[in-house]
Symmetry: D2
Subunit: 136 residues, 4 copies
Amino acid sequence: MGAAARPFRLPVRVYYQDTDAGGVVFHAQYLAFFERARTELLNSLGFDLAQLADEGRILFLVHEACLRYRRPARLNDLLKVSAEVAKLGHASLVFHQRVERAGELLVEGEVTLALADRERLRPARMPAELKRLLQA
Amino acid sequence: MGAAARPFRLPVRVYYQDTDAGGVVFHAQYLAFFERARTELLNSLGFDLAQLADEGRILFLVHEACLRYRRPARLNDLLKVSAEVAKLGHASLVFHQRVERAGELLVEGEVTLALADRERLRPARMPAELKRLLQA
Amino acid sequence: MGAAARPFRLPVRVYYQDTDAGGVVFHAQYLAFFERARTELLNSLGFDLAQLADEGRILFLVHEACLRYRRPARLNDLLKVSAEVAKLGHASLVFHQRVERAGELLVEGEVTLALADRERLRPARMPAELKRLLQA
Amino acid sequence: MGAAARPFRLPVRVYYQDTDAGGVVFHAQYLAFFERARTELLNSLGFDLAQLADEGRILFLVHEACLRYRRPARLNDLLKVSAEVAKLGHASLVFHQRVERAGELLVEGEVTLALADRERLRPARMPAELKRLLQA
């Protein structure tokens, strides 16, 4: 494995826009929370998704996602959303992700991403520097 | 003026994804409903936004939007969302838009769009054929 | 099994609001498309989610969701989103769901729902009539 | 008037989920950004929207919103979203709101909110303590 030891954690506030008429966070919104944590993990390593897309012509495409919902998050909760590299390939990677509130696990899941070139959406190799940093 | 006489109307169902913890449709979502009606109006005239962007290199950018909220829409409501050209310029147009439920006005507003070329986001002229159809 | 033989299919248009800067539908949005199809399936059987929540004090909570992304949907695509009951329990059910474009599979997945009473979010029994209809 | 002298500013990162196939932030999303800034302004004053809804039985309903779009925000931009009380009534208030990137104005607008009791959605008086704090 050799994947990143400690998960990256992003604080995320729950606003009305994240909730639904059931009074809790809308279930698809956790996938969006997951994406925020992955993006900020990359930012923290010096990788900017917009630059990767514009200059490197590389996109991360979500290939698979599984979520397990244990407890609902609610309006104005302050959550911690984590992203941790669970598996690192040449053209893909798997993140394990969790949403917690005050140490309590609310939602967890795995997201598999494939790297693709921007124009043809075909598989692309991970830049060596990014791979090195994700392994660290 | 000389704009389209009858408004175009699109049926829109309210799902959990459209609502918030207040039990009603989240206020920003009406702007998204408005966009659906404008897009389907263009589709009904034979204009495909994706084709306009890819082949014509033209985007519609929202330049201004005003919404007045009168009554809330709720989960599972079946709404009618209308789009009517209120003003038609060389590189811009104004839509008057309404959201109704069983003939009752819930939300209305105006959305001003500017045509822009896709690469530089500078003003672009409306295709003559589109202008002709919107005036009809 | 004994679940509904033919999947329910809902036409869904892709608007700008569904897409992201990668030029394709944002990956979390498919969970929202799935929800639309499940809701319309229930509507077609005479079950209204808003009424179930208000009068029956029953919510459907998403308990687990898995999605496999095969090909991206794009702006203005007209999709078919299907929902099919794959497993039917006393207080839960599993849907198999697919997103297709002109017969081509784009995204598929499973969504497990648990019935819960609205106030305490504890497990609740499925109304017998609903169970009967979903089995038909 | 006597409204708050300095606007409250919230940093907001632009993620894929905020953008559309035009490569820029989806126009309705700025209303959601505005809401985040208003909510955090209230939080910073010690008012929690969830508590106001649950205990005070009070909701803030958006009554009117106008937005003027000047320049597009893009993927991974770090924005500042401000909320400033422009007008303060007994049962309503108007916020002036701006989205800036590195000091440059991208979007601005006004949002009028009405206080309503949660059950019947009828106008409600602003809690005196909240009014006092918003005037400070």
